[in-house]
Amino acid sequence: MSKSRRDFLKLSALASGMLFVPNFLHASQGMGLLGNSNGRRLVVIQLSGGNDGLNTVIPFEDDLYYKARPSLAINSGKVLQLQNGLGFHPSLDKMRQLYDQGFLTVMNSVGYPNPDRSHFRSTDIWHTASASDEYLKTGWLGRYLDSCCTGSSAAHMALEIDDSLSLALKGEKYNGMAVQDVRRFYQASQDRFLKQMAKTHHHDAHEHHQVDYLYKTLINSQQSAEYLHQQVRAYRSNQEYPKGEFSKNLKTIAELITSGVESRVYYASLSGFDTHIRQEAQQARLLQELSEGLYSFVQDLRQHQAFDDTLIVVFSEFGRRVNQNASNGTDHGTANNLFLIGGKLQKAGIYNAAPNLADLDAGDLKHQIDFRNIYATLLQNWMQADAGAVLGGSFKALDKLV
């Protein structure tokens, strides 16, 4: 985005925000934008439930894979071959097209030391970027907001397309905002009584800061709803998206991006990957939804010249065990693959070697890349943020990735 266009957006954001700046929030706090915004944005896609990575990026030349999965392995004839003996699940045809165009990076064996096989715990670890035995109450994207935001617009600097906010987007000072549907969000924020009360509220030195905090949160949310609603009203796109909740959410993100909303982070989830039983049909359908949705999303962004400034990262809280179970499914595992999708990748294609199925840890993959090094790369090299401040210092960014 050109500099002048950004400046214009800043001004229009300021103008619409001013409508509701109440007297206890100073005007200067009303709409502060990120100091070091470089116009780039990050879209995080979470595959909830633990996607089976081995049946997503398939080591189709490895006999051990076929041995471990007598009824679940994907026949090598059906695999969409990539390179280095790896190929995509047959449902990922559209993602293969992105791969062929140099828009996709596959990172293998991503995980962390002492992996936890519980969904909630491993999700928390990915959300907070903590070590396996460390409990943090803020998320990495929330701390990103803390590290570079000022003022009350911080809330819509990170948007989750959902009704409730994930831990990943909760910071110490600032939180992201969950918006499932911009119009509905706007309507809900228009409650007459609450607007009247919010307008009436003033800072009182004798009152607890909690009262102010709650009103500030309420007012920020009313302001953001107003701002987002005004922005997306102008959105027009003729991009077709597949049916389904996930694609609808991606379309919402595209709407927000292409209508000039200055959010830096978008977050969406696709769930149902916990395939303990009858995995084949379930995973095939989900991967198709993922692949086709992302493809439409990329086309939409490209049409609007917004793809080069966008980086998409797709992760899951863990992979699944190498051996299938007795119910034609797979149980909770450890390391997994992760995808980066973007118009300006420095290393498109297969980033690192396929997982070594001959060297397992009690039947589970060993991780080769710590996910926090990827976070550091995204923060530092893509968002130009202070990765040390967000992740706590010791995680180096990976060279020549984004």
């Binding site: 905002m177 509220h201 009262v211 709650l214 949310s221 916990d274 007795a326």
Partner: protein, 466 residues
């Protein structure tokens, strides 16, 4: 009723030491007597009933049988959740239930087997007000705890440090007051502590490391009980527990002087928990405007508080579970072993918007639509229906009669003010009161006026505070 300074203080005490006032159940207006009564009523001990379920090892089952057993387990766990929530709202032993919730967040376990959950919860309730060493010993031998922190796998040949680490970091001393070596040595002392198939504590002597250990500067042939004893003798434990009690019951903003004084007394009294709480609840500083109304209600406090005030009846008995999930606090499912972070972490724009909408919807029997994130931990994959728990509708009926009775003597022009004092723990700004009073102009019946005001009051940000 007319609300005086004394009633405001009693309400404060009821919110903090319990789950808020209940129309028709008053405490003595003088604080020391009120605290005595709270303690007396909490002598009563009502355990949660055992789930009606055959405890069998689900891991031995496969396919459909396994799915069916898992479903039964989940439902039994949900029933336990609702039973406890209900007990919080109806029990006269308010302080005991509140302390049980406190300990549930302190010794936070996330367990699958309903029987194990029930036993642990009853252990916490039984010792909730006992001297801390008794509770610490009981919970360290609790099968749920041994399971959750892997002490069952802690053996002489292959020590597992999980329990020892959390014991020092989260249960007694707090971070920064022990070394990694202390953890390793403590873990050795706890080798052999486990449970049998009946879910009873067992000491497996053959798995116990009988060698000499050096723990916190002391050397000896220590067992688990010795380690607990050494931790109790350390005044850091008293400080750590007092700080946590202070944060939970008084304020997130910890006053070091108050905590120092309290923890010294706590230590020298042999960790007398009832005594500590009595000191807190009778202190002058507990009733200052800085403390009153400064606490953001946890989801459980919010739900139980409304239940007590308005006698809610949910159309679907499991509805409170849906509300707990969307608000971010499900009983028996703490986020991790360090419990719920509390305070401002309850609030983001979405959770606040839901809280503000929830109260009035429940009180007027309106359908409250709730979208939940999937919870793979308690709801394994259902191949057919992917968004298995997409949109839920929650509905409840409120009983305003007792509430209206409370307001019977309040003159019309005072209604907004008196009701705000009754329902809110922070004074409402004058201009806001005026808007409220204005909102009942034109309403004819007294009942309508009171209901209108109540609906407005519970939808205010101020209602989120206690």
């Amino acid at each position: 009723m007319t609300i005086t300074l004394d009633t405001l203080k009693t309400q404060h005490l009821q919110w903090r030491a319990g789950f808020g006032p209940m129309p028709g159940q008053d405490l003595p207006s003088r604080i020391p007597q009120a605290v005595k009564q709270l303690l007396k009523e909490s002598k009563q001990l009502q355990p949660l009933p055992a789930p009606d379920l055959n405890l069998q090892n689900i891991n031995n089952l496969q396919g459909e049988a396994r799915a069916a057993a898992a479903k039964m387990q989940r439902e039994a766990l949900q029933d336990l959740n609702c039973q406890w929530l209900n007990q919080m709202s109806t029990s006269k032993a308010q302080l005991r239930e509140k302390m049980t919730l406190f300990w549930h967040g302190h010794f936070a376990c996330r367990l699958r087997y309903p029987g194990v959950v029930q036993v642990q919860n009853n252990t916490l309730r039984k010792y909730a007000l006992s001297p801390f060493p008794e509770l610490l010993t009981a919970i360290s031998k609790d099968p749920g705890m041994l399971q959750f922190l892997n002490n069952q796998q802690n053996r002489k040949q292959r020590p597992n440090e999980n329990f020892a680490r959390e014991l020092l970091e989260l249960f007694t001393l707090g971070r920064g007051h022990y070394t990694e070596n202390d953890i390793r040595e403590a873990a050795r002392a706890f080798t052999g502590w486990g449970y049998n198939v009946q879910g009873e504590f067992v000491f497996r002597a053959r798995q116990h490391d009988t060698g000499s250990k050096t723990f916190m500067g002391k050397t000896g042939n220590f067992n688990g009980d010795d380690i607990l004893q050494i931790l109790i003798e350390n005044p850091r434990t008293a400080i750590f527990i007092t700080q946590k009690i202070y944060t939970f019951f008084v304020s997130e903003k910890v006053n070091e002087d108050h905590v120092n004084e309290l923890s010294k007394w706590f230590y020298s009294s042999g960790y007398n928990m009832e005594g500590l709480l009595e000191k807190v609840f009778t202190a002058d500083w507990f009733y200052t405007s800085e403390v009153m109304g400064s606490h953001i209600k946890s989801p459980v406090e919010l739900l139980v508080g409304m239940q007590r005030m308005f006698g809610l009846e949910y159309t679907d008995k499991r509805a409170p579970l849906v509300l707990q999930r969307v608000l971010g606090q499900v009983l028996f499912q703490p986020p991790n072993v360090s419990g719920w972070a509390g305070g401002l972490t309850w609030i983001d724009s979405s959770s606040l918007a839901f809280r503000l909408r929830m109260g009035q919807a429940l009180l007027q029997d309106a359908a409250l639509e709730v979208a939940l994130k999937p919870d793979d931990d308690s709801e394994p994959s259902k191949p057919v229906q992917r968004r298995a728990d997409g949109l839920r509708v929650v509905q409840a009926r409120a009983d305003f009669q007792k509430f209206i009775q409370e307001m019977v003597k309040v003159p019309e022009h005072k209604l907004a003010e008196e009701m705000s004092l009754f329902l809110l723990q922070v004074p409402l700004q004058k201009q806001k009161l005026a808007i409220l009073q204005q909102s009942i102009v034109g309403k004819t019946s007294r009942e309508e006026k009171i209901t209108t005001l109540a609906l407005h009051l519970v939808s205010l940000p101020e209602y989120q505070l206690s």
